[in-house]
Subunit: 126 residues, 2 copies
DNA sequence: CTCAATGCAAAAGGTTTGCACGCTT
DNA sequence: AAGCGTGCAAACCTTTTGCATTGAG
């Protein structure tokens, strides 16, 4: 995961591992390790538009959201300080407790916009 | 669905139908009908925190988001006009195309806060 | 030897699809 | 007879779990 900071599903990570000759791991292990890393907050989790879980290494601990490329998983972080206010306010107005929010943008990044036809991720140059 | 405007999963809707002596429907039909109604935009779809799809009749066509009770599915609508701006701006800054956003709040509504122990929805008085 | 990590296979849970049945026209 | 809606069962997909094996300490 250190080699690619895009969000990937467990299945993708597993496939990528399999595709790497020197590495290997069962799908079970991928899921188990991801769960551990998630619990320890070393990876961050994001939901894809279709509901799959996507993972990548957490790079900072500030609360933020993502603009996520739906093709390749590349992500831009952003924060909307106002927003956090607003959500609190709305929750308060209606007296809802334990409020959490999910705020995510999905789009197609400039890179992937190029080769629009293929569903495959563009090669990601590090 | 006209009798209860809370968000419910297909499974819940199916169970509720089954529980009603005069009605009946297979799970398959529930899903099929929901798909049709969704395509026709007569129901609105929302994702639960765990990824399930939740449905209810659409009551207006203005773009809005929901503060959703995670126990009973009751929903408060809200709009954040600023927000729509911000999301557009962020998307534009990064040159992402076809941007959509998912903004949802989940909480526990005052009613459900009462009988916290049970996972069952509170009786909903119309 | 012990214990933790691994991976296969199977289960789980939500959703979709194949297919045949029965009802209406 | 044709066509549609229906529902059961099975398929699908992602994620989780049971269980026996492996390997390091």
């Amino acid at each position: 995961m250190r080699r690619d900071d895009r969000f990937r599903s467990a299945q993708q990570l597993h496939a990528d591992l399999r595709a790497t000759p020197t590495l290997s791991a069962g799908l079970t292990s991928v899921y188990r390790i991801l769960r551990i890393l998630t619990d320890q907050q070393v990876v961050e989790v994001q939901r894809a538009e279709d509901g799959e879980f996507l993972y990548r290494l957490r790079d900072n601990d500030r609360h933020h959201h993502h603009l996520l490329c739906r093709i390749c998983g590349r992500a831009e972080e952003f924060t909307l300080d106002d927003l956090e206010h607003h959500t609190d306010r709305i929750a308060g107005q209606h007296r809802y407790a334990d409020v959490t929010h999910h705020i995510d943008l999905y789009g197609t990044c400039p890179e992937c916009l190029g080769g629009q036809n293929d569903q495959e991720p563009e090669k990601y140059v590090e």
